[in-house]
């Protein structure tokens, strides 16, 4: 055999090996673990996302999405990665129809090798209004990742194999001393015969849905994106968009739309749900359409969509799960996970317009009936002029001892206001304080001829809804740090306990002992350790116990 042909053989084998490895490989990818592989619509599914060290420089915010076989994104959240893990939950909508769905995680900055292939964990969802399921649409096995069985290496043991409902289970996990792995989770959950067959992790070629979202490295914050169009649907580049979020220290920023009419704002350390007010500034009076852009990926699974007929056992389990969900909702109507309020620590100690030259608190003076009186009596250096029913403000420039030619930047609760009539009716009792900055200020590339900022007692900003030039968007920022409580609540004896997921923790690398309480639901319970080995392959070790 010539040297050349030997080289060809080696090359071919290397490529084949690589391709084979790819089906089991998790290198350069975020890895998602979910607390369960099936759920009833309306349930909460917990996830943990592991980030390999090699991806740390691409950001520490994991975006997690729940999407259907046909790439419809059902839910999208973002969680901060700490010590290599992001933990959070996805609330599955009540009305979601029965089918196979997927949970996938990605970083906004996908500029690393292998980012075009994403792992998605399968999640079977059963609509809670339909307990008779006979067939289900699903992806064929071609994209499924093979898990190595590590049951011989990682041994899971319990004191017995059969338990009764609500009994305590004490489990031990034995890990050999010389055995190491990248990451793993321990879970105990009810076994769904259908999920046993259809569940698992799947590979898909993916790309970002919205090409105009930049591959910005999200560190401790979230990119919020949108686009501006004219009423004919054409993208509007080169218009200025202001974004404000009213908070203790208001967030304010601007963006000049790009060639696709796109704008983006980075909300650092923002968690919870924010109410963002957007305004378009243009020198014409034309109408614009602002549309929020969802940052998500679309997957192209290697398998094909087909229909699977269910066996009696599988259909029976689904019916039981849906019924259990019904009782859960009936006895415990309040969701176990409530969305937290918005929190965004201020970047600096001063507002974006700087330290005010003067702060006036109207409460310290007599009540005045409107802003004209307030400006006359309490605001030295501010001219309030009413001419032809139009109000104009002029602010004095302290350094020049002269009035600015143009109006100052006017704010109400941190939101820029360009219609001065908004101020007219404000009286002392509405206003918490008024800040004035009597100098020229720079914010990025914007220059302001002074600032007049009015802070109201009423923080609801209901007045914004009456302004056609302002748009309010609800932005889901980083999910506040919350993890599923693994210490089992011992449900009262006279109330049903319909839990189907019992334990959910990150696995340590040494022998572990843990306990959990079973619920009233009978069936097979799987205690498993799932993870990624040092050579970046998925592994699983499990033990099944019976609850009779």
């Amino acid at each position: 055999m010539t040297r050349f042909s030997k080289l060809i053989i080696v090359l071919v084998l290397t490529v084949l090996n690589f391709l084979a490895g790819a089906q089991n490989s998790s290198s350069e990818k975020l890895v998602v673990f979910t607390s369960r592989d099936y759920c009833v619509s309306g349930d909460t599914v917990w996830f943990k996302v592991w980030q390999p060290k090699t991806l740390e420089k691409f950001g520490n915010v994991a975006r997690v999405q729940l999407f259907s076989i046909r790439n419809n994104v059902i839910k999208s959240v973002a969680g901060k990665i700490e010590n290599g893990w992001a933990e959070g939950y996805l609330h599955v909508p009540d009305s979601l129809s029965t089918g196979q769905y997927f949970v996938s995680a990605f970083l906004n900055n996908r500029d690393y090798p292998g980012s075009d292939v994403t792992e998605s964990v399968g999640l079977l969802v059963y609509n809670r209004f339909n307990n008779k399921v006979e067939s289900i649409e699903t992806i064929t096995d071609e994209s499924k990742i093979k898990f190595s069985d590590f049951s011989e290496k990682i041994k899971i043991s319990t004191e017995k194999a059969e338990f009764r409902p609500r009994e305590k289970v004490l489990a031990q996990i034995s890990i050999p001393e010389n055995f190491d792995f990248e990451s793993a989770v321990i879970k105990a959950k009810l076994v769904d015969p259908l999920a046993e067959e259809l569940g698992g992790s799947f590979l898909a070629n993916t790309k970002t849905r919205e090409g105009s979202i930049p591959g910005f490295t999200e560190n401790n914050g979230l990119l919020c994106s949108g686009r501006v169009f004219d009423v004919s649907g054409n993208a509007k580049p080169g218009v200025l968009v202001f974004a404000t979020i009213s908070a203790d220290m208001h967030y304010f920023d601007y963006y000049l739309t790009g060639k696709n009419g796109d704008f983006h704002f980075f909300l650092k350390d923002a968690s919870g749900v924010a109410n963002m007010v957007l305004q378009v500034v243009s020198e014409s009076n034309e109408k614009f359409v602002i549309r929020a852009e969802e940052n998500c990926i679309v997957g192209d699974f290697r398998g094909e969509i087909g229909k699977k007929e269910l066996t009696k056992t599988q259909s029976g389990f689904i019916a039981k799960a849906v019924d259990a969900g019904f009782y859960q909702k009936m006895f415990y109507p309040i969701a176990t996970v409530t969305t937290a309020g918005f929190s965004m620590p201020p970047k600096f100690e001063t507002p974006f317009y700087g330290t005010p030259s003067l702060r006036v608190v109207p409460d310290e003076f007599i009540d005045l009936p409107d802003f004209r009186e307030i400006s006359r009596e309490l605001l030295p250096g501010l001219q309030y002029r009413l001419k032809n029913n139009e109000i104009t403000f002029r602010l004095i420039n302290d350094s020049r001892r002269d009035y600015f030619n143009d109006e100052p930047l006017r704010l109400i609760n941190g939101i820029p206001v360009f219609k001065n009539s908004q101020f007219a009716a404000l009286k002392s009792t509405n206003i918490k304080y008024i800040d004035m900055v009597k100098s020229e200020r720079i914010f990025g590339d914007l220059k302001f001829n002074g600032i007049l900022s009015v802070e109201l007692y009423d923080k609801t900003n209901l007045w914004v809804t009456r302004q056609p030039e302002m748009v309010q968007l609800t932005v889901n920022c980083l999910q506040p740090a919350l993890s599923k409580s693994s210490s089992q609540k011992n449900f009262p004896q006279n109330m049903p306990d319909m839990r189907q997921s019992f334990f959910w923790e990150i696995a340590g690398k040494t022998n572990t002992e843990f306990e959990f309480y079973l619920s009233d639901v009978k069936g097979r319970v799987e205690i498993s350790v799932e993870g990624i080995s040092l050579d970046k392959k998925h592994f699983k070790s499990s033990r099944i116990i019976e609850v009779n």
Binding site: F266, K268, Q279, V280, V281, V289, P416, I442, K447, V471
Partner: protein, 244 residues
């Protein structure tokens, strides 16, 4: 069923869009371009007007230098033209896009560094506040940073002199002088003023008097100017003598 779903999705999509009206702002933003969109945050401050006198007398460096500014929120803004204004202790930056000078808001700056033209030496300034009051915050040049830091505070003072005619033909009886005060910022967070004299160091650290004398003598260091002060500081800091 499918058609019904299509209609539902179309209605939902329409509702998800928001129609708004643009407004005239009165702001001048014609010079904004894609470089104006800095996602990590924007520099802010007060517009500064440069006078010929200030240009000549009040700045640390004569020419603009490309600087790296570190903000208190961890953000680093690079490639900004700056000059340190000794009179008033402010960092003046030049915004190329809108061709405007501005004093970068002091409370937002943690420190900045730049290289003087035709020199490889990096000049670094940090902002230190000695108490809760904003007025106590100043920019100090870092001469040496070890366990403790040797800092220099540059300022301009007006000094009375005999009357003279300046180059603009104006009679003046004062002149501006650049003055430098030296400080040691120790590990305890205390800022201690020192002079370019051995006596000053001995007075500031009386518990280590003997050791300081011995170390300086042993290394043949005579403190006369800034360079020898830096040398002395390095040696004493390594020997852990600059603490109480």
């Amino acid at each position: 069923m499918k058609r019904w779903k299509t209609y539902l999705i179309a209605i939902a999509g329409f509702l998800a869009m928001h129609v708004t009206q643009a407004q005239k702002s009165g702001l001048y933003w014609n010079n904004l371009n894609e470089n104006s969109n800095r996602l990590n945050g924007k520099l802010r401050g007060e517009v500064y007007y440069l006078s010929p006198l200030a240009n000549e007398k009040f700045f640390f460096q004569q020419e603009w230098a490309k600087a790296k500014i570190e903000l208190t929120d961890g953000d680093i803004v690079e490639n900004v033209d700056v000059r340190y204004l000794e009179l008033g202790d402010e960092l003046v930056a030049y915004n190329e896009n809108i061709r405007t000078l501005f004093k970068v808001e002091k409370e937002t700056v943690k420190g900045f560094s730049f290289k003087i033209k035709n020199s490889d030496t990096e000049i670094k300034f940090i902002r230190i506040c000695t108490d809760q009051s904003k007025k106590s915050c100043r920019f100090y040049r870092v001469l040496d940073a070890g366990n403790a830091k040797l800092l220099a505070f540059h300022f301009v003072e007006e000094k009375k002199v005999n009357p003279y005619m300046d180059k603009y033909g104006l009679m003046r009886d004062f002149e501006y002088r650049h003055v430098v005060d030296y400080f040691v910022f120790d590990t305890g967070g205390e800022l201690k003023k020192i002079q370019k004299k051995r006596r000053s160091l001995l007075k500031s650290y009386p518990e280590n008097r003997k050791e300081i004398k011995k170390t300086l003598a042993g290394n043949k260091i005579f403190i006369r100017d800034e360079n020898s002060l830096i040398q002395a500081f390095k040696v004493l800091d390594e020997a852990n003598l600059l603490k109480h």
